[in-house]
Symmetry: C3
Subunit: 347 residues, 3 copies
């Protein structure tokens, strides 16, 4: 696609400095951009490397101080949020073409299904009975959709995904390969000698604009629903147990695990490999550090680290002192000796 | 299904208080139950919320003290183990119908296979040569069963599961989606500059009544077998390496990892995200805390936490002291000063 | 297969002691070997158990001291690296037969593909357009290969693997079941109220002689490539984020996670459940301990443990002192009291 800097500025509601007729053919990273690509300056440290990119134009921040702006001799578009603007330019240049209605002959569609239009259903996709697919749903291949599943509009599901019976998927949802939605929760009743399986009667509900990473496992509720609310994004290999709720626009980084019946608030960030015990509540806009093991509920806006967790600042302080623990012990033994000697004198 | 409280009491060997002719049509959770549902009182704190459920009847414990029992004005069934009894009621109301013999035309069955009766083999299931399936085996769809695999009776395998050559699966086993059984163990011989693959000649054996969660990886043995014994239950995203043995009725919570040749005893619980190093033994009825990193063998009945592990009580104590580490350090420095000043005086 | 000890010695460039005409029919482990099997003595502790194996012959180290060698009354082959030699004997006896050219009728091959010869393409394999497969590629079944993927010679891909558009796989690569290669990286631009998806234009490149474990997730680069270099071996459930580079012959043990844009050097070992933050560099031949959480770059040849990481020796020391923390605290309080009493006397 070919356009001008001025047209791109229109898309992102930005202000051009330089040649708005400049011909731009794509958007790329600082390192990979060519002379007809636009790139973006993520932060000031990029300006030091500005000779290293061949990019023909930059998206910059409106708040970039004049002294730094001067160092850029190329044409620019100034915006409020450069990364968001750049994201929109990538979508402008590289969005996938609209899907054509194609139902692969080697796919398997059950009875009483509603398939929207257009739909793209790839090879070896299984759709069981009473499934509802909205419009512009793209099921790439080797996917299993269970009985009574409902999927909204503009949903893209990558290969080797499993969505089991009665789960509900909203609009504009993306589900990456290998993910399992609606597996039975891990619930058993022990009698002292063995475990009795608890039948799981609930489902999983995934709301609009959610993106689920590769090889996630999201268990169905025992009763009711496991609920992934609007705008949530999960990275790869995330585990979400039965009856969990993840609040709107929360972020679960890779290999996070959430135990049963825990509720996560809105705009929460769970960093990589963190774990949260069951039946807890994590407040809105809380941040849970990487590898943290959360054993109690967390108030809104808190930043927590460690296993068991504590406020992040306290944790940092303690980690620093930990490295001096050998010195502390040595000093303690010295003090003891000095005290012994004083006491001896005093006798 | 419709029944009476008295009939349900018969199923769970319980004692009715109230109207045993009461009509009951289902079993549900405290929150979701309707007036013709039975629910169960998990513990005394539920009694405080008893106005919040609409349930028509309760399963309660025979040992519930009279003072609490009085607060329940609905009909009850008293049993020894309420959760186990409730599990049986769920199975009574909601067990899956018996499978009908159906082999999907778009499935692929090899030579010299024995397929039991009835069997339900879904679309895009691959069964390689010399596979033995017992009776009432349900392979849902998009499943791969390798050469010479043997599967018992009443086994349910969810979509997108892979079971590789020569693995042996017992009776009444459930395997959830995305799980891989029989991948090569992670074994390489280093020569100082590269790694040489060790061919894995063993298999995986899964005994009766095991349930394997979604997206587990269970590697085949180098020689001999990786062995999951009777009644074991694993949660999602669990990793079990080559030549591991998991003893009867042990529980592996989500994202646990067990390194090669380790043996886990019977009735062990490994909490979420715990890891166990290779060539260790975890004794019967031991409990390993969440996120623990086990580096030595553990005696039976021990509760261990932390990385590296220590007895759970000790770990709790140390974690509490850790939060006071800044104070400890401050106090130490104060003592030092006081001692300096005493010593000065003494001179 | 049947051979003699002398012939096997030729394969591994070893020296026979005893009967080089001895008939050998297989290679097996110490525990599983029969009288016509050869096994190997991994280390001296095996010699104490030498009565417990029925093996007909042993691979031993040339450097085994004479006193130990005397205790072996069976025929032996002495080599420089017994485990590597044994690996070669396993390959001699048990390598898979050469694949026959078979393209399963229930597979789906796109337009403008190049399929090498011979190729073994199993049931329900999807190969999208413009894919290039080298010679002797084995795609077992239920596999999805995206548009424009390129795969080298002698590659084996297990069932239920997903390789997405434009990824490049080298020669002699093995990819185990459930693995996803080329999922979108976890990149979003926040605007304060929601997250905007960053389109991922890069790919994943996997070089020669790599083995990827089961249920790995390897994300494609935002731009450029995520790069797994020659000879890397990954265990199961490993997560590799966008734009990561893993250097030659590095080892990633099960459940390791590497965040975005981090580069791992050559011959690095990352032990199980370790995590590495984004935008770091791990130097050549570094070793990262199990469960370590790496938050800063690591120099070559370092051994690091803990979260946050520190040199392994220091970490060990601190862990030992940690177990004495209750005593340290008690002693500190005692010293304080003694000091109080001295100061009182001094008044």
């Amino acid at each position: 696609m070919e356009t001008t800097l001025g047209q791109l500025a229109g898309i992102v509601n930005g202000i051009v400095t330089g040649n708005s007729d400049k011909r731009i053919t794509g958007a790329s990273s600082f390192e990979n951009a060519t002379e007809t690509d636009i790139t973006y300056v993520a932060d000031i440290k990029y300006l030091k490397m500005i000779n290293q990119t061949k990019a023909g134009a930059y998206v910059i921040s409106k708040t970039l101080p004049e002294q730094f702006r001067k160092t850029i001799h190329q044409d620019t578009i100034a915006v409020d949020l450069p990364q968001v603007a750049f994201t929109k330019l990538l979508q402008f240049f590289y969005s996938e073409p609209e899907i054509k209605h194609t139902i692969h002959p080697q796919s398997c569609i059950g009875n009483h299904c509603h398939i929207g239009y257009p739909a793209s259903i790839g090879p070896y996709v299984v759709i069981q009975d009473e499934v509802v697919l909205g419009d512009r749903v793209h099921l790439m291949g080797n996917i299993y959709i269970g009985h009574g599943v409902s999927i909204g509009n503009d949903v893209k599901i990558y290969p080797n995904v499993t969505i089991l019976d009665q789960c509900v998927i909203g609009n504009r949802v993306i589900i990456h390969s290998g993910t399992v939605i609606g597996s039975d929760g891990f619930g058993f009743a022990p009698d002292g000698s063995m475990y009795h399986k608890i039948i799981h009667r609930g489902n999983v509900q995934i709301d609009d604009d959610v993106e689920i990473g590769a090889s996630n496992t999201i268990d169905r509720a025992t009763f009711g629903r496991t609920w992934i609310q609007r705008g949530v994004k999960t990275d790869n290999l995330v585990h979400i147990a039965h009856n969990v709720t993840i609040g709107e626009h929360s972020i679960l980084v890779a290999q996070v695990g959430i135990a049963g019946s825990t509720t996560i608030g809105k705009h929460v960030i769970l960093a990589g490999q963190a774990g949260v015990s069951g039946h807890l509540h994590i407040g809105d806009r809380a941040i849970i550090g990487p590898k943290a093991g959360i054993t109690h509920s967390v108030d809104p806006n808190q930043i927590m680290s460690g296993t068991p967790e504590m406020p992040h600042r306290e944790w940092l302080k303690i980690q620093r002192i930990l490295t001096r623990l050998p010195d502390i012990r040595t000093k303690l033994l010295q003090l003891e000796k000095r005290l012994d000697s004083i006491e001896k004198k005093g006798e």
